[in-house]
Amino acid sequence: MSKSTLEKVAMVSSSLVLVAAIWFWSLQVGDVLETLKLAYG
């Protein structure tokens, strides 16, 4: 892979990672809030 292609791949994959992480951790926070509502009302 040439340097410029590698750079583009790096940009895209890093952005995907950050989007995926926001999605994953939002789900976790949502689950926690739901469980706390069930547990404590």
């Binding site: 892979m1 340097k3 590698l6 750079e7 791949v9 790096a10 940009m11 994959s13 890093s14 952005s15 990672v17 950050l18 992480a21 994953f24 951790w25």
Partner: protein, 158 residues
């Protein structure tokens, strides 16, 4: 692709017999997992915080990345070996654990990300790389390894 057969095999393998029978051995292996977690964290943070121009700015980022790489690999290797050993002790429980799969997904991606994208790119002179790419790379790296560690710890609570 269902990997249940692999976990069933692992659960009754020789490795599992050792890890399940000797709690002391399991504990020692887990210590190595924890200690190499510290080393991995240090190498990731020093490298990524340098790329973000937050830490050690008087040292060139090429030198920082170069020096932290080797020890990152050492730490990761120890973590994977100790991780496999520990997994064998509770293989079936892990198969049905959501957090375990979250960890494996992020670990798998993390390894691919580091060795196929990040490391090859950072071999080039950093001045010739778009600074935003470097920042995104650093943030993504910190995020992945944090997710691996946090989901890993949470396996124990779920």
């Amino acid at each position: 692709m269902d990997v249940l057969f692999f976990f069933e095999w692992l659960d009754t393998s020789l490795l599992a017999q050792i890890s399940k029978a000797y709690g002391g051995v399991f504990a020692v292996v887990q210590m190595f997992h924890l200690l190499s977690l510290a080393m991995l964290g240090g190498m990731v943070l020093v490298g990524d915080l340098r790329l973000l121009n937050i830490l050690m700015t008087s040292v060139s980022s090429e030198e920082v990345i170069d020096n932290t790489q080797k020890w990152f690999t050492v730490a990761l290797t120890v973590m994977i070996i100790s991780g496999i050993f520990m997994s064998s002790a509770v293989a079936m429980k892990l198969y049905y654990n959501e957090m375990f799969w979250a960890k494996m997904a992020s670990l798998g991606f993390g390894i691919a990300f580091v060795y196929l994208i990040r490391r090859p790119l950072l071999k080039y002179d950093h001045d010739t790389i778009n600074p935003w790419t470097l920042r995104l790379l650093a943030l993504a790296s910190i995020t992945i390894w944090f997710t691996v560690a946090a989901s890993g710890r949470w396996i124990g609570f779920s």
